[in-house]
């Protein structure tokens, strides 16, 4: 080993307790960062999956302006055919057409204004989790067509309307052309998602029947798509945009446009997380600064001797830098190791804290969290701590350039 | 009446693999008002004996009686109280608390004893004047010379009017003039106040001041004789 390295290594252990305490601060911070960042990324992945998977999908094709105004007339012509074309496209894992209308739904006892969604019964389960959450009865028959007056509704809506399986619901609303729309449908299934808001409002009917009742012709309001690779959404959007380029009234929207809150929720959550990380890193940097400054100050006399022996201040500064490097490397290694093990374990076992259940329900998060085991999540925090530790050693190292050999040697 | 009686004191230390004999069956009697020097090469046991007499260290076996106290029977806390009230110490260096001024260093012991502020002030200034440091009460140790620092230490040692002062190499870091002044001060205090002095030293200039000279080697008293004191030549 190089003599300078050896010297730095030995110096590091002159005050082994101090070195260990500083390393411990780094390890603590590193493990915490690894854990929190992994948890954070894991929860974002789940948030995105859960939010988009329930209903909105990754991409939607809609009429221009429909997203904001949701007007009955802003339709996608030949929606089912478009869905069929897109479904066969490479990279698209599922596609389904929908139509949406508002109507007053009445049972024998009750009336509620609700949103009725016309879906393709065969394909809807591939773009939305709701069909899979039918707790009573069944979802719409896959071949349900114009003549099928089936409907599935949310469990709270069913309670509120006081209807059960086999009961009839009457709809009053207006069709696409503004005409009066009225129909009767029979409840074949009750959906229970666990989310009150959804269970209170969801009502799905076959698209063909919907189109007839609301005088839609072959039109729908959106084609919902799921892609194979979530990260490839922007490319897919471009491809589909190309395909529908000849129909100026159509627009292709990615999940960010469909659920603008999602990215922002992530951003605002990240902001507060970064705040905490920043504070932790600064505190560790202070710890390193303190240790290295002390170690330089108490060695003033020694450094004076070295200076008078002809060792340049640059060399001494490098020595101090080297010591910090070694110390930080130990902190990095232990931090990554322990943090990695913890996250690796939790990525299987999951992680839970009290009160999460209700929070999860509200924010569409699962009740157990599984941190994401990824190299980025594990290395990011410790590397930043490492860099800040080196940065913190800068001041003590630079002080050495001000050192004069003779006064330094006389220093107590 | 004897101020100090020790009987068959034994003390050993472990240093690495070796067992070092600090004291080997040392028996000694010191009467009140004596001015005694413990001499011998380093490692002879003189510091160990001094520490044992001051209750800083407990012997492995043997008895020590200092005034009314059986030191070998006291707990750590009781030993601390005994030192606080009955014994004055002067060490070789680092004798003073660096963040306290000369006056505060002297007051320090009284403050721990619980003496009132006014009394502390009066007594510390008086004793500082007595050791020749009037006007330097507010200086920090770093602003005093080595001799002056040692005199502050003496002032602190005698301020609570102990009957016994123990000094371990008090002149080690002093030039001859300062050393002579310090020893003159010791003698003066010994004569005027009747304080018993036990000084461990290997400085031959210091030994000259002693009326009784005990020579130690390898933890054993090899000679113990009275002598006619003579001040050093400066």
């Amino acid at each position: 080993m190089n003599v300078t390295w050896l010297l730095a290594w030995r110096n590091l252990w002159r005050h082994s307790r101090r070195t260990w305490l500083t390393v411990a601060a780094m390890v603590f911070c590193n493990v915490l960062l690894v854990f929190l960042i992994s948890l954070q990324l894991g929860s974002y992945t789940m948030m995105i999956d859960n939010t988009l998977g329930t209903f909105s999908g990754h991409i939607q094709v809609q009429h221009v302006g429909y997203l904001d105004q949701q007007k009955m007339r802003q339709t996608v012509p030949a929606a089912a055919e478009l869905a069929q074309t897109l479904r066969e496209q490479q990279g698209v894992s599922a596609a389904s057409a929908r139509g949406i209308a508002f109507a007053l739904a009445s049972s024998e006892e009750r009336s509620f204004g609700i949103q009725i969604v016309g879906v393709e019964p065969a394909y809807e389960p591939e773009v939305s989790t709701f069909p899979g959450l039918v707790k009573q009865g069944r979802f719409l028959a896959p071949d349900a067509g114009v003549d099928s007056d089936e409907i599935v509704i949310g469990s709270i809506l069913a309670d509120n309307l006081k209807v059960g399986l086999g009961d009839e619901l009457t709809f009053l609303g207006s069709g696409r052309d503004g005409s009066f729309a009225a129909a009767v449908a029979t409840v074949v299934g009750v959906i229970d998602t666990g989310f009150d808001e959804v269970d209170r409002s969801i009502a799905e009917v076959p698209l063909a029947w919907f189109q007839q009742v609301f005088t839609m012709g072959n039109q729908g309001h959106s084609v919902v798509l799921r892609v194979d690779d979530f990260d490839a959404v922007p490319q897919q959007v471009a491809v589909i945009q190309q395909q529908v380029a000849d129909r100026a009234e159509l627009v292709v929207l990615d999940w960010d446009a469909l659920q603008p809150g999602l990215r922002q929720a992530i951003t605002s959550d990240m902001a507060s997380a970064w705040f905490m990380y920043g504070v932790l890193i600064i505190l560790v940097a202070f710890s390193v600064l303190n240790t290295q400054l002390m170690s330089v100050l108490e060695r003033t006399r020694e450094f004076g001797v070295m200076l008078s022996l002809g060792m340049g201040p640059g060399k001494l500064a490098r020595l101090v830098g080297l010591e910090t490097l070694m110390m930080s490397t130990i902190g990095l290694a232990f931090g990554v190791l322990l943090g990695g093990l913890l996250v690796w374990y939790l990525s299987f076992a999951g992680f839970y804290f009290p009160g999460m259940e209700e929070m999860g329900k509200r924010f569409n998060l699962p009740e157990r969290m599984y941190p994401e085991f990824s190299l980025l999540a594990i290395l990011w925090g410790p590397t930043t701590v490492f860099l800040f530790a080196l940065l913190a050693a800068l001041y003590p190292a630079l002080r050495l350039f001000r050192l004069q050999p003779v006064p330094a040697m006389r220093a107590a | 009446m004897s101020a100090i009686t020790c009987t068959e004191l034994c003390k050993t230390f472990q240093q690495g693999d070796e067992i070092i004999t600090g004291l080997n069956k040392v028996s000694l009697e010191i009467t009140k008002g004596e001015f005694l020097c413990l001499s011998g090469p380093s490692g002879s046991g003189k510091t160990t004996l001094l520490n044992a007499l001051g209750g800083l260290d407990t012997p492995d076996s043997g008895e020590i009686q200092v005034g009314e106290y059986r030191l070998d029977k006291l707990s750590k806390g009781e030993l601390a109280d005994m030192r606080l009230h009955n014994i004055g110490f002067v060490f070789q260096a680092y004798n003073l608390v660096p963040v306290l001024s000369a006056r505060e260093n002297v007051e320090f012991v009284m403050q721990v004893q619980g003496v009132s502020a006014a009394q502390r002030r009066q007594r510390s200034d008086a004793v500082l004047a007595e050791v020749g440091l009037a006007g330097m009460e507010t200086r920090l140790p770093a602003e005093l010379s080595g001799g002056q620092q040692q005199r502050v230490a003496v002032a602190r040692a005698i301020v609570s009017k102990p009957e016994l002062v123990l000094a371990d190499e008090p002149t080690a870091n002093l030039d001859s003039k300062s050393a002579a002044q310090l020893m003159d001060l010791f003698v003066e205090l010994n004569v005027e106040r009747g304080i018993t002095f036990v000084i461990a030293t290997h400085d031959s200039r210091v030994m000259g001041y002693a009326r009784r000279l005990i020579h130690m080697q390898d933890g054993v008293v090899v000679s113990d004789e009275q002598q006619e004191p003579h001040a050093m030549d400066v």
């Binding site: 005050h15 307790r17 101090r18 305490l21 601060a25 603590f28 915490l32 904001d68 007007k71 508002f102 007053l104 009445s106 049972s107 009750r110 009336s111 204004g113 009053l172 609303g173 207006s174 409002s201 603008p260 809150g261 999602l262 922002q264 929720a265 992530i266 951003t267 902001a271 507060s272 705040f275 905490m276 504070v279 932790l280 600064i282 505190l283 202070f286 710890s287 600064l289 303190n290 400054l293 002390m294 009160g355 209700e358 929070m359 924010f363 | 520490n51 800083l56 750590k76 109280d81 030192r83 606080l84 060490f91 680092y94 608390v97 306290l100 320090f108 403050q111 721990v112 004893q113 619980g114």
Partner: protein, 410 residues
């Protein structure tokens, strides 16, 4: 022992500044840590305050009376008679400052272009104003004049969706108690803007008497709400109201009305504490390090003091007091800087950049951090309590030094 303790305090103070660089670095670290603790707590509290207040504003009144079935099934069937004299008296008793009775039923509103499912509120404008439950801003037209006002007031977003506007007619449809369609045409007399777009889409305001007539329910109402103007002030003030209402009513304070809000507040307090402890732990390594080094540098001195007769307890106290000084200074600076940074922000931070995301959490586009004494006290307790605990180790080591060895150290 008084004298001894004052010596210890003087010594500890001067010792603190012997290595002023180290002390200043540590002080900076503690200050940053405490500032962060309080700042984070204030932000979170601001956020939850807002979520709570917004949620309570969409169903205003911290105490609400309903038909026992209403909350499960908010239908016109589950209504109750207008408050009796005894109940009115109970509702007006302090700390309650305002109350209002309203009809609140699901309905459909249709323009000539489109229709939407909404919640129809039949209200008394004067009483709701006192309750603070009216829309923040009427951007077009006017609000309802009284309970007999035949107009309706829609949210701006809903009006856009319905392609309707001020002065146009809409049809309100709901059901009467016998499940017949109850409807009436009404002119849009006002358009309001709310902090949350969701509110604008859902709530349609109509005069109380007009709505009661439309539904054919006489003077019955769906909901009676009362407020004391401070959601933290829950206590038991709903109980006399419950007593006055008698059986047949469900009277609930907000923690039960929205158990989510309640649990969120508790989670937030817990999270603040966890955050503070984590920050403290990151600090504690530096603190222990500083004290260990301080003791290490002063081994001789400590030996001397022990030799002179200072009992180990006082040595221990000396290190602890030094630590307390450091912590207290840090606490002072941290609290002051937190105060200085948060107070100017209490008028609101614009977070419209992430507005739709936070809207998911029922917040507006402005965040109002709330500096609460409780959080400052909590950080102080955490830092001082755990700080002293962490200092015990170096202090105990100092106290148990062997004076002879300590003195012979070079």
């Amino acid at each position: 022992m008084g004298g001894a303790m004052s010596t210890v305090m003087v010594l500890a103070w001067r010792n603190l500044w012997r290595n002023y660089r180290r002390t200043l670095i540590m002080l900076a670290a503690i200050t940053v840590g405490i500032w962060a603790m309080i700042f984070m707590a204030a932000m979170m509290r601001g956020m939850t305050d807002q979520i709570v207040e917004n949620t309570l504003n969409t169903l205003p009144g911290e105490v609400q009376l309903h038909h026992p079935e209403y909350r499960r099934d908010p239908s016109v069937v589950n209504r109750m008679p207008a408050p009796s004299a005894a109940l009115r008296e109970a509702l007006a008793a302090p700390p309650a400052v305002a109350w209002a009775a309203r009809v609140r039923v699901p309905a459909v509103v249709a323009s000539e272009r489109d229709s939407r499912g909404v919640i129809l509120l039949g209200i008394d404008p004067q009483k709701e104003a006192a309750l603070g439950s009216l829309p923040e801003e009427v951007i077009e037209g006017r609000f309802l004049a009284d309970i007999d006002d035949r107009g309706v007031v829609l949210g701006a977003s809903l009006a856009r969706r319905l392609e309707t506007g001020l002065g146009k007619r809409v049809v309100l449809m709901s059901q009467d108690p016998d499940n017949n369609v109850a409807d009436r045409g009404a002119r849009v007399v006002g358009i309001y803007k709310a902090r949350l777009q969701g509110t604008e889409d859902v709530f349609v305001y109509s005069g109380l008497a007009v709505t009661q007539a439309m539904l054919g329910i006489g003077s019955d109402v769906s909901e009676i709400a009362a407020t004391a103007d401070d959601y933290r002030l829950m206590g038991d003030w709903y109980q006399p109201i419950a007593a006055a209402a008698g059986p047949g009513f469900e009277v609930l304070p907000w923690p039960q009305l929205d158990s989510f809000l309640d649990s969120m507040l508790r989670v937030q307090d817990g999270f603040s504490l966890v955050f503070m402890v984590v920050i403290f732990l990151a600090l504690s390594f530096g603190l222990v390090n500083t004290l260990v080094m301080a003791v290490f540098e002063r081994i001789r001195e400590i030996g001397l003091m022990q030799a002179l007769g200072m009992r180990p307890g006082l040595i221990l106290a000396q290190v602890l007091v030094e630590s307390i000084y450091l912590l207290c200074l840090g606490l002072l600076l941290g609290n002051v800087s937190a105060w200085l940074t948060i107070k100017p922000l209490e008028s609101g931070i614009d977070i419209s950049a992430v507005a739709q995301g936070v809207e998911k959490m029922a917040m507006g586009t402005t965040l109002y951090p709330a500096l609460v004494v409780q959080d400052m006290v909590m950080s102080t307790v955490v830092v001082l309590g755990l700080g002293l605990l962490a200092s015990l180790l170096p202090a105990w080591r100092a106290a148990s030094l062997d004076p002879i060895r300590a003195l012979s150290r070079h």
